[in-house]
Symmetry: C2
Subunit: 354 residues, 2 copies
């Protein structure tokens, strides 16, 4: 098995810590190592450093080299621009030279998993299915009517692999309305799509050629003609692998899911990070380089990365992020709106703070 980690950046809802120059995967949001470093560490011993590949923005190549010195430089696939996950997966399937029938694990660089042994067991079972030609995804047991995630609806018919139940995917549901999310949860078969996929190299390439020729076409033609990625890539449509491959393939019954109860979070916003820290049983508080002090606050996350003393008094459900040039103070319930602030800065061309 080899792994392709998608480290495409983003993470604007974690601004002002997540910046263009050092986005979310490269930040130590859970303390100590960066999210990317933790992602690689938890694959061991299932996947070794030589078998780990990264698809990342070419601006972040040096960061990957710095954070993952054991991964060979040749294993980096550098994108000249971001074109979403379908292009990244297609590119990896085309240009990373591995045996045609080897299982390729695709996963995001910037999620959290607390039960790493359970993750490796699920990946083992999923890899076994994938080696037979199935397109396989892990499914996180849905515990909330979350509207920010994609859902996987499993069929009733399943078989066991390496001691774990597996199911055929009935369908994928994109980010649902609150009502639809409640229905999915009540149905009892809903799983969250964590963006972790396993498939043989030939299976994903054939699947993409069949369901997403608008993605693979420009890539294959350009590469065959010897053109550079800088020339080819901007012309590849930006679409997600879920939409381009998994949804249409699931209609044909070609997709399986392995439910995985692994303590997963996408760490997608400051509120999600606050929850992730709380689940880990620690105080609801992230301390960076700086000092912090508190008087009587609860349900607070402080990220002090500005070298200053950050003092909180009597707060409830509040996030404070201190950086050298920006201070963010955000209500927990409005954490999604951080993206709007970033949008306003982009519109105002305030690139110093982006």
């Amino acid at each position: 098995m080899y792994a392709v980690i998608l480290a495409g950046g983003g993470g604007t809802r974690l601004w002002p810590l997540s910046r263009v120059a050092r986005p979310k995967p490269f930040l130590p949001l859970l303390g100590g190592d960066s999210l990317l470093q933790r992602t690689v560490a938890r694959l061991s011993p299932l996947v070794q450093a030589d078998d780990i590949y990264l698809v990342t923005d070419e601006r972040h190549g040096p960061l990957v080299r710095e954070q993952l010195p054991d991964v060979p430089a040749a294993n980096l696939v550098l994108e000249p621009v971001g074109r979403n996950t379908a292009a990244a997966v297609a590119l990896a399937a085309l240009i990373i030279e591995r045996p045609e029938d080897e299982v390729m694990l695709v996963l995001p660089a910037d999620h959290r998993v607390t039960d790493e042994a359970a993750l490796r067991r699920a990946l083992g079972a999923a890899g076994s299915l994938a080696s037979e030609g199935r397109l396989v995804t892990l499914g996180i047991r849905a515990t909330l009517a979350e509207t920010g995630y994609g859902y996987i609806v499993a069929s009733g018919a399943g078989e066991r692999r390496e001691g774990l139940p597996t199911f055929t995917v009935e369908r994928f549901v994109e980010k649902p309305s609150p009502e639809r999310a409640e229905e999915l949860l009540a149905g009892g078969r809903a799983l969250w799509n964590a963006g972790i996929f396993l498939w043989r190299r030939d299976a994903v390439r054939e699947g993409l050629r069949r369901h997403a020729p608008h993605v693979t076409g420009p890539l294959e033609e350009g590469l065959a003609a010897g053109r550079s990625l800088a020339e080819i890539y901007p012309h590849v449509p930006a679409t997600s692998i879920d939409y381009a491959l998994l949804e249409p393939a699931s209609v044909e019954g070609a997709v399986s899911v392995v439910p995985a109860d692994v303590g997963w979070s996408d760490v997608g916003s400051w509120a999600a990070l606050l929850d992730a820290r709380a689940e880990e049983g620690g105080p609801r508080r992230v301390v960076g380089d700086g000092e912090t002090m508190d008087e009587g606050s609860e349900d607070v996350l402080v990220h002090s990365a500005g070298g200053r003393l950050v003092v909180t008094v009597g707060l409830r459900g509040t996030i404070v992020v201190d950086t050298p040039d920006v201070v963010l103070v955000c209500a927990r319930e409005q954490a999604q709106d951080v993206r709007r602030v970033v949008d306003r800065l982009v519109a105002a061309k305030e690139s110093d703070h982006l």
Copy 2:
């Protein structure tokens, strides 16, 4: 009339903006000029710069000179240590050479008044009473059952001076319990003690000699013996002028009050500052040197003095103070607890942040 402004520092509840090196009176908390500069400006044309004296900590002499260049250097009374207001008033009454029967106006350096013309009218009426030998205080009409202020209970019997009603003070009430504050408010005769007093120089000196010989004794003996303030002052008891003079004098019927509806606030905490800004009709937002941005917050005060971008998202009743070395985020309702943070820093000898 001459004025003695008490600029003794303090303001720990306005930390981290108010610091030992530059405490509350010297800060532009209401925008533009400092509270001290605004206090002096609003006395004009009633009291001119030559007739303004300041009692301040000797460390802050240079700040006073810088902020009030029109006040003669000889008008500064520099205290080697702070000994509360009774000592400051006694010292001023003893060493500032003015005619015995001239009216001395005593007032704090760091309060807010919005109706300056009304203040000067009240001071005129109070000065008229004081010139006859009465000890006179202004009383702010109590509008809330505030427990952080001292109260003045006026007797029913009053006379008019310069078109304004005046009353004999029945008694002073120190910071009351919430229940007592409600009773005082319901009684309809309660006024807040704003620390603004008028009396003849001889009247206050005689009053202090009679009611507070433990304060005037060490001062008069030391000065008569030619000792320096550095030698004398540490031995003077630290007590308030309210407690040392006004309370006992009121029992004898020697104190009058002039009610003054002047838009007063003691600007005693970040919550009081937030209210003061809101009353002035402006947005609930103080902007210092830095930029600010907001998404959907209400009832928020941001003081940006750290040169950074301060971003608030979805907050309610929250104060954010950004300074070069400290960031404070405080719930409006817990603004009094800022003092506890300062106490902890003092206990930990964290003088860098004090």
